[in-house]
Symmetry: C2
Subunit: 235 residues, 2 copies
DNA sequence: GCGGCTCTTTGCGCCAGCGCAAACGCGCCA
DNA sequence: TGGCGCGTTTGCGCTGGCGCAAAGAGCCGC
């Protein structure tokens, strides 16, 4: 279990607490509960009463939403420094999706009263929150447009570009997705079937645009993928 | 042009300023700019630099996003009391979509510095904002799931239910959509084509579930539409 | 009351992507 | 090291919804 000081330092890099003074970060770190989780751990279920706000310190968490008929959609993959499971606190108090670690991870969370109290004393947190939720809304609306108007291969290309975003270095053609990702995952991210995703990826691998191993994927020709995505993206 | 007092009263019913003291509402009303707009007025364009936060006092505004190839998607229809064009202020400062009145409308807006100042003095506004953006994010993610997993007719049913939501009275089977809405609009709301929407609506009209006139639509059998939507909705 | 514009309907052909089935193969664990 | 389970590939047939074209029908302005 990391020390409070170490946690405070990592909180400075989170989207929710950026811009806070060091003393404030110490306080935030002290009030949170840190958990070390092995891969495959379910943090919360869809529909569960939401009583905590979460931030990921290290690892990767998959957020997925299920429909009544068992159909699933992946909302996003959460990386280090990102907030999750927080919107529920401000809407109807139930998690709208489930969260599962895809690799060993470390998270920190705060109870709702604690968060509200922190916001009260550090209003910057509320502004950060608006910014976070706003960007996510914007991304969701972009995905909606894609899903409504683009072909499957364009959407898959977009999904890959988004997933690899963190590893992109300007001018470099390679970028890796550093966590396990199945064809099924990709399909659930872009409204396709496992089969279609497999066919498309196989074609791209043959063309040399990407390289895949079991549950691993890396991009070899970023520019080609961008072209395939339709160059519409702002990534 | 309405008086400040009248405006303040209406602001109490908006999602952004609910919970504020009457004096605060007076102040908010005084600082805003009220505009009376005829139908078809463009309030802002996609990509335009965003310098104002808007709230609709009366009328209806259509928010639509365009892609690079001219493809359009309707993000939502804004009704009285709702905030719009505000997320842009907290993200990259550009409107991600365009806004157009579909009927004669009245809006009020505030400059970014004014809004930030108001938030500073009335932190409740920030919390309201998180709540608003959060609900919208949730709805966007629900639509994403629908678009990814459901058939066109289910999505059309959902779209109609959402549009008629305000007019729904528990126990009543009828509900009207009180603003002009073309087949094209509906298609752009649920990722379908004008033709498909027309075919589906014609079938439903023959079945007696809905009634349509040119650009007008009302629901006659809410329960049937709910069944068609798959009863998965939380509406 | 007439002309034209915009919205709407409908027929028809077509194809992107689905979905089943079955084989394949990587990696883990015993 | 051998077997097994899960992820992946691939063939094949099918169909939901697209998309063109053209006709039909409200509504507005002149």
């Amino acid at each position: 279990m990391p020390s409070t000081a170490a946690v405070a330092e990592q909180l400075a890099a989170t989207d929710l607490f950026s811009g806070l003074a060091p003393e404030a970060l110490d306080e935030v770190a002290r009030l949170g509960r840190v958990q070390v989780l092995t891969r495959g751990t379910r943090l919360f279920e869809q529909g569960m009463s939401a009583d905590r706000c979460h931030a990921l310190i290290d690892g990767r968490v998959r957020i997925a939403q299920s429909g009544a008929e068992g159909d699933q959609v992946i909302v996003r993959f959460v990386g280090p420094g990102e907030t999750f499971g927080t919107v529920a606190l401000f809407t109807d108090g139930r998690y709208p999706a489930e969260a599962t670690t895809v690799i060993d991870s470390v998270e920190i969370s705060w109870t709702e009263p604690t968060l509200l109290d922190l916001i009260h004393r550090h209003p910057q947190i509320a502004l950060n929150l608006v910014k976070i939720v706003g960007s996510r809304l914007r991304e969701a609306q972009e995905r909606l447009r894609e899903l409504a108007t683009q072909r499957v291969d364009q959407r898959i290309a977009h999904a890959l570009l988004r997933l690899a975003e963190r590893g992109v270095v300007p001018g470099k053609e390679d970028a890796a997705i550093e966590f396990p990702l199945t064809r099924q995952d990709l399909a659930e991210m872009c409204g396709a079937t496992l089969y279609t995703v497999s066919r498309v990826l196989t074609a791209w691998e043959k063309a040399g645009y990407i390289a895949t191993r079991r549950q691993r994927l890396s991009i070899r020709k970023l520019s080609e993928l961008r072209r395939l995505a339709g160059e519409t993206s702002t990534i």
